[in-house]
């Protein structure tokens, strides 16, 4: 079964396929530039000790983002 969730709802070791990046402006654009585009697979690796940010793996490298940014990323789980 396929459900769409926002990335911040995923737990470590869960993975998904990006379906949409919400929002606009500089941050939105940066997320695209970093390879967070539709169809890319993304794994949540871990959450920082204090609960934020998160460390995800995308296109074979590690990227960290805050949950606030992650909430704009919709993934299919």
């Amino acid at each position: 079964m396929v459900t769409v969730k926002s990335l911040d709802e995923l737990k470590p070791k869960q993975k998904g396929i990006i379906v949409k990046i919400k929002g606009s402006g500089a941050t939105h654009r940066r997320l695209l530039d970093m390879g967070l585009v539709k169809g890319s697979s993304i794994d949540v690796e871990r959450v920082a000790p204090l609960g934020d940010p998160i460390d995800v793996r995308i296109k074979g490298y590690h990227l960290s983002l805050r949950k606030e940014e992650a909430s704009n990323i919709l993934v299919e789980v």
Partner: protein
């Protein structure tokens, strides 16, 4: 005849640009392993096949649409300056994201060469990259390089010359380079073609820009291109048409153009990578990684010998040191040699290796847990390390422990070396100068100028060179290994709470070395507000130049030891740590206040790459340490030398006055300012003068005290011992501590103020001067008066 040409090196952060730059130009330049190291473009020269190449190293960037100031530097350079050849350096282990920038450069139509760097790492990760195929797809030469072992560099230069001679960009062949243009799909392509014609039909874009590229950039909403077009005649209708098309495409696709474009670019790249890169995935266990590492003779032997030495020091450190001293005494080793051999080298080795047995024990536990299936495999050694370094439970304690170890090592290793330097300056240099001047019957005043002024003043600063070097060494290791980015990750939540940004953390840590590079490093921050805030509180990070003042006063007033949580530590160390912590505490409080007053509003996002860990190379670390440390020595030889001579004259004039007495000019200056400091417990005119000159550089506080308190006694060149004695006569422990608090917090040195002015304008620079001094005065007042109330003296 050599032709002069410009070669620009561009690439993602951490792709090894700077290492390639160094290899090409032979220039010494620092390489860090955290995003955003080259904060300004650096230039160097290289010659090849009769060409004189001006090589420009640009700050790392992920895309041609800039996000931070340093990315803007790179973007503007390749777009507007049009270097003859652009060399895009890619990290072969991370091709997909690295190709994104390459694709944009190709679209722009630059004359270019791709360097697939770190090819050795890609090999060892089991990546098989068919560069010929990619090269054919992109119609751009690709050279595999490894800046580490220097392979591929000559081929890279050959390729650069080839491109230089034939050209493969837009301009040389009017767009018919045969390069594949990315196809954005039928619908988009039709509009793009129309719009390109519309642009060329209505406005005159400068010849160096490829019209199709301008069209794409306008539709993407690239602000820099919009700015450029706005300056042209007729721009209004073009921009209007661009907006119309944006809306039209959005209505059709349900996505904005930037998303469509980024999707298409990454789609194109994904296709290429799927066909030309094969990953022979071999998931390695942690013990495999370790086994592989220690099977290299150097690392294997180092680890074995180090661990044994560490164990020996752990259980019998005292005995080892005693027998070393005993042996050196029996062979009549002079004091300085003992200091170097026993106190620095042997004790330093001990201080470092003591941690190794614990590390090995930890390796064994980790490998056992892994073998037992308690923890699963990981893709790379970096992932294994991150499991521990960014672990939810031990991530933060480990970070704090690392900082503590780093600073401890700095002090333990540097202290005896500092004694050696002191001996060298006061006994060897001082004795030599004195003997020389006596032999030529130099007048008394010249003797005083040389010994009280130059030798005492500059010498009192130079004794701290070992501390500064060790500090920079430690910071270089943390930077080059990739740990700094983890520190930012681990600390972001906390930094966010106090109104800062995880990335602010790196400039703040760098501030412990020197605030000048630290302030420049704030360019990685995307938001101007974050930048200003991080710059404003950066001076509270106690830089290396303040350390001499702490050490001097700690040696004079805080000897002995105290017990902290059951551990016995020397009071000296505790006092110095307390100042570092106080600086951080003040930074946090002030940051919090500013964030809620001057910089109210939304916080900026946190999107940061966590680069793979890399073993720092000895050469890289030493180069870096030397470069930064050398600046300190040079400053001592020039600026500080000039200041101490100036102070000596002020102290010796008007003629006939007793040297450094209240009747001298400097006495007048001191007495004029000292009332301000009286409530803080240090109203002595000489300390006031030293604070006044401390604006030149903080270590001048020590240098000028060396001149002012150093007795006029020419027979014994005033080394630290006399200075300590003189200070003990003027300060009490409480007023000494208040003085240190003031030195920690008050106006940063003039170089820092100048840097702030350059980065964010003179208003903020002036603001920093005023507010830090107010904060310092208030803090020292609280310490001194509060201390008096509590019954300290």
């Amino acid at each position: 005849m050599a032709e002069k040409t410009t070669i620009a090196l561009i690439g993602n952060p951490n792709s090894g640009k700077t290492t390639i730059f160094n290899a090409l130009t032979g220039s010494r330049q620092h390489v860090g392993n955290w995003p955003g190291k080259t904060v300004e473009k650096k230039e160097g020269k290289s010659t090849h096949k009769g060409y004189e190449l001006e090589v420009v190293d640009l700050p790392g960037t992920y895309s041609l649409t800039a996000y931070s100031i340093e990315e803007l530097i790179s973007r503007n350079y390749v777009v507007n300056e049009k270097p003859d050849v652009v060399v895009d350096i890619l990290d072969s282990t991370n091709l997909e994201r690295n190709l994104y920038l390459a694709i944009q450069l190709i679209e722009m139509g630059a004359n270019m060469v791709l360097a697939f760097n770190m090819s050795d790492l890609a090999d060892s990760e089991g990546l098989e990259i068919n560069t010929d195929l990619i090269s054919r797809y992109l119609n751009v030469p690709i050279i595999k390089t490894s800046a580490r072992d220097g392979s591929g560099l000559d081929e890279l230069k050959d390729a650069v010359i080839d491109v230089l001679e034939s050209g493969n960009g837009y301009e040389r062949d009017e767009g018919r380079s045969g390069r594949p243009t990315i196809n954005y799909g039928k619908e988009v392509e039709e509009h793009l073609e129309e719009f390109t014609e519309y642009i060329t039909g209505n406005i005159e874009i400068p010849e160096k820009y490829n019209p199709r590229w301008v069209a794409i950039k306008l539709l993407e909403g690239d602000e820099e291109i919009i700015k450029l077009v706005k300056e042209l005649d007729n721009s209004r209708i073009v921009l209007k048409e661009s907006r119309r098309l944006q809306n039209h495409l959005k209505a059709i696709f349900g996505e904005d153009v930037e998303t469509i474009v980024a999707d298409a670019r990454y789609g194109f790249i994904h296709g290429i990578v799927m066909e030309s890169v094969e990953r022979k995935r071999r998931e390695k266990s942690f013990s495999d990684h370790v086994r592989k590492a220690v099977s290299k003779p150097f690392w294997g032997i180092s680890l074995a010998v180090g661990s044994i030495l560490g164990l020996a020091f752990l259980f019998a450190g005292g005995l080892i040191m005693e027998s070393a001293y005993g042996f050196l005494e029996s062979v009549n080793s002079p004091e300085w040699l003992t200091l170097i051999l026993a106190d620095t080298i042997l004790a330093g080795l001990g201080a470092i290796t003591v941690y190794l047995p614990f590390m090995v024990l930890f390796f064994i536990i980790y490998a056992a847990l892994e073998g037992g299936g308690v923890i699963g495999g990981a893709d790379s050694l970096s992932d294994h390390i991150d499991r521990v370094a960014m672990n939810r439970v031990i991530g933060i304690p480990l970070f704090l422990l690392l900082m503590l170890i780093a600073f401890n090592l700095t002090f333990e290793v540097a202290a005896p070396l500092s004694d050696v330097v002191d001996w060298f300056i006061s006994d060897v240099v001082g004795g030599f100068v004195e003997g020389l001047l006596f032999s030529v019957n130099a007048p008394g005043w010249l003797l005083s100028l040389a010994l009280d002024g130059a030798v005492a003043g500059v010498g009192s600063v130079l004794v701290f060179v070992p501390f500064i070097f060790m500090m920079f060494l430690v910071i270089a290791i943390l930077e080059d290994s990739g740990y700094m980015a983890r520190a930012a990750f681990v600390m972001d939540r906390f930094m966010h709470k106090i109104g800062l940004h995880g990335k602010s953390f790196i400039p703040l840590i760098l501030g412990f070395g020197c605030n000048v590079p630290a302030i420049m490093a704030t360019r990685v921050l995307e938001s101007r507000k974050d930048r200003i805030l991080t710059i404003l509180i950066n001076p509270f990070m106690s830089c290396g130049a303040r350390l001499p003042v702490y050490l001097l006063f700690a040696a004079a007033f805080f000897t002995g030891s105290i017990s902290v949580f059951g551990f016995t530590v020397s009071t000296e160390t505790a006092v110095i740590y307390s100042l570092y912590l106080l600086g951080m505490g003040v930074a946090i409080v002030i940051g919090f206040i500013f964030k809620n007053t001057l910089f109210k509003g939304l916080s900026s996002p946190f999107v940061m790459e966590l680069p793979p860990y890399r073993m720092p190379t000895l050469r890289g670390v030493l180069t870096h340490t030397w470069e930064r440390g050398w600046l300190f020595i040079r400053k001592a030889g020039t600026l500080i030398f000039a200041v101490v001579i100036f102070i000596w004259f002020l102290a010796a004039l008007p003629p006939g006055v007793e040297y450094g007495s209240e009747g001298s000019y400097i006495g007048d200056v001191g007495k004029f300012i000292s009332p301000v400091f009286a409530p803080l417990g240090f109203g002595d005119w000489r300390s006031s003068v030293s604070l006044f000159f401390g604006f030149v550089a903080k270590e001048v506080v020590v240098g000028s005290m060396g001149v002012l308190y150093g007795s006029g006694d020419v027979e014994t060149p005033s080394g630290e011992a006399t200075l300590v004695g003189a200070l003990q006569g003027t300060f009490t422990p409480l007023s000494a501590y208040a003085f240190l608090v003031f030195v920690l917090l008050y106006v940063p040195c003039m170089v820092v103020v100048a840097t702030i002015k350059r980065e964010i304008g003179w208003r903020w620079a002036l603001f920093t001067v005023v507010y830090t001094t107010v904060v310092a005065w208030v803090a020292a007042f609280i310490v001194y008066q509060g201390g008096l109330l509590l019954g300290f003296s």
